[in-house]
Amino acid sequence: MAKTKGYLVDTTKCIGCRGCVVACKQWNQLPAEQTRFKGTYQTVPDLTGNTLTIISFHEYEEEGQIQWYFAKRQCMHCLDPACLKVCPQKAISITDTGAVVRDNDKCVGCQYCAAACPFHIPRYNRETDKETKCSLCTERTAEGELPACVKACITGALQYGDRDELLALAKKRVSDIIGKYPKANVYGETQAGGTNILYVLADEPSKYGFEENPKVGTVIHAWQDIIKPYFPWLIALTGAVSVFSFFSTRFLGVGKEAHEGESLDG
């Protein structure tokens, strides 16, 4: 794969100010939605058709020590995207910098990509009848600007750049904080075949609501790699058999008239 670009989310620097969430809405001019406070700061519970990124809040208390993790969730821009594979309309593609983007016109809102995505990211937008997800602000990066969320990030928790450099930085960050956070790890290096959005986590991924080892469901693989490409040939097969039977019955003289003339006693 050519050198791809993405960004690193260093959750140990994130102050949960959600500047990125609002910057994303502002740049993409996405409308706000009705929400209700239910006992957690994560008042926007999940991605929606109008919300391409959220911050998830996770509170834990272990041996009297409180941990409060904030994790930014959005499309992971996989190196080998499942959504791209399953999309019947070929609406999803990878740009030269490795961003997984959608062509809004081609998308018919069939939500195949949502079913296939190992991270459960794409969401259906009712008004536009389209699937929506983060596009890594390709129209901005093409002009040399930072993605809207990365530019808004105050503490440098989000850093945009080449994936390999970010990977090295992530590993260095993990080694820096391993003392304080023994379970610190890099997320996104290998998950689902590797992603362009990398994370420095201070704890196991499940503590952040992330999949421990996300991968495309075997069902989807079976469908994608076996049923879709080969099974349609069965139709052709039975079609051929019927055509063969049509000619061979005529050829062997057991034609229609032979049957027709049968007397009652057959």
Partner: protein, 198 residues
């Protein structure tokens, strides 16, 4: 078109009547998302109106409409970054809930009446003059001690009214606060406060 049950019934009623003629496409072309809409527009630098950090914000406007607001990349305090509030300043201007006309509420009324600026200015000036004239104190007697320590009365010029108060200004510009303070002191007001004290 992926539709909910309710919409489906509504549409299907109509659509069956106009079954798609060959080649006729039902939906309008979707807006092409992801255009770099601020291309070659000169951003106007401003400062975020919210907390006291004083972060730089740039506003992109084209033919009288705000089309984008972001952090000011040159600003030494925030270097282009913004918190949730700073990133939302776009909706301060593009917001139907903004007040757009001077309003007046008559005594005991339960709703606003729209007025024009000239009318409200004159009415306000009348109220200020009436209340000031009724309660203004130019001189008043105060107790003081003369050299021997005995108590005596002193007449002081105070030029004050306690009947008019001013509140606010922490969100106003410096120049506005200066005129506000100058006008208040010129009118003889002493109840001059704002939420720095809260």
């Amino acid at each position: 078109m992926k539709v909910t049950r309710r919409e489906f019934l509504k549409i299907s009623g109509a659509a069956v009547a106009t079954l798609p003629v060959l080649g006729f496409d039902l939906t309008p072309a979707m807006a092409q998302s992801g255009t770099f809409r601020i291309k070659n527009i000169k951003p106007v630098p401003s400062i975020c109106p919210y907390c006291g950090c004083g972060c730089g914000v740039v506003v992109y406007a084209a033919d009288g409409k705000v089309i984008n607001t972001e952090g000011d990349p040159d600003h030494p305090i925030n270097q282009g970054s913004t918190c949730a509030k700073g990133a939302s300043v776009y909706q301060l201007h593009d917001n139907p809930r903004r007040m757009r006309k001077p309003l007046y509420r008559a005594p005991y009324s339960d709703q606003w009446e729209e007025k024009d600026w000239d009318w409200v200015y004159n009415q306000i000036a009348k109220r200020v003059k009436k209340t000031r004239d009724e309660t203004f104190i130019t001189k008043e007697k105060v107790k003081t001690k003369d050299e021997t320590g005995a108590e005596k009365e002193l007449e002081m010029t105070v030029n004050r009214t306690d009947a008019i108060a001013t509140l606010g200004g922490a969100a106003l510009d410096n120049e506005e606060c200066y005129l506000y303070s100058k006008l208040a002191r010129g009118l003889g007001l002493v109840y001059v406060e704002h939420c720095a004290r809260l």
